[in-house]
């Protein structure tokens, strides 16, 4: 045990090393410093995802803009952009209701980072896509239905 502690201290990036230990199952997830929130990524529906993220009944907001196609011809690559005019945005999450795992990504934005992220996601089938934004400690969402003509999961 003491040896393990030594090597953690010696390692230049202690947090990353702890994460690697967690992945290897040596350190229990709760012990690692910055651990991937496995529970929230394993949720299968929107209600469970929100619960795992510690969010209760987020309000719909028109101040979140989701840039995404109405119809995705290729479900393997669906570009999603989320921007917001809400103040003090500290978190942006992308959730895809009908994917095998609902939560696609969860971004943490420190002060000074603009409330704007763009990425590409996979969609197995036509689904509502939700953007969850944390502003001033409160949660807001917006959603958009994206029709998929060829799925990107299970191919």
């Amino acid at each position: 045990m003491n040896n393990q502690r030594r090597s953690v201290l010696k390692s230049g990036s202690g947090a990353a090393f702890l994460g690697a230990l967690a992945a290897a199952g040596i350190v229990k997830p709760g012990m690692a410093l910055a651990d991937w929130n496995k529970a929230s990524f394993e949720t299968k529906n929107l209600a469970d995802t929100l619960k795992a993220l510690g969010v209760s009944s987020p309000a719909d907001s028109k101040d979140i803009q989701m840039t995404a196609p109405d119809i995705a011809e290729n479900g393997a690559v669906v570009p999603i952009g989320i921007a917001s005019t809400l103040p003090n945005v500290t978190m942006i999450a992308i959730m895809i209701e009908k994917n095998p795992s609902t939560l696609a990504a969860n971004f943490t934005l420190p002060a000074g980072t603009e409330p704007f992220v763009q990425t590409r996601v996979k969609m197995g089938q036509t689904s509502n896509v939700y953007a969850l934004v944390k502003s001033d400690g409160k949660f807001f969402t917006t959603s958009k239905e994206i029709k998929v003509t060829a799925g990107g999961c299970g191919g």
Binding site: F107, Q118, T119, C153
Partner: protein, 104 residues
């Protein structure tokens, strides 16, 4: 398995730096099956951190829904021409990679 470098572009425009990154990663969902019908194990990026010099400007957790060879764009205030932007990721097998670019 060796990983390929990320492509990172960072440009400052009117005091805001926009970073675009294209990450090379298979992002296997664990849902697919190979030709023999055996499930291909999940292999995907779980965590990602972007830094401007030594300050974290974005951290992210990814699930399996992110596309193969993930694309990411974000913006932060500040950042001068010549400053360093670095992006690091870690996948569910514990592999990590860090690449950096200079703000144009």
């Amino acid at each position: 398995m060796a990983t390929n470098p990320m492509k990172i572009r960072a440009a400052n425009n009117g005091g805001i730096t926009e970073v675009k990154a294209l990450i090379s990663h298979d992002m296997e969902t664990g849902q697919r099956k190979d030709a023999a019908g055996a499930a291909i194990p999940a292999w995907f990026i779980t965590e990602l951190t972007a830094k401007h010099n030594d300050k974290v400007v974005l951290s992210a957790e990814f699930g399996t829904s992110i596309s193969k060879n993930p694309f990411l764009a974000f913006k932060f205030k500040g950042g001068a021409k010549g400053d360093k932007v670095s992006i690091s990721w870690k996948d569910n097998k514990g592999e990590t990679r860090t690449d950096e670019a200079v703000i144009a």
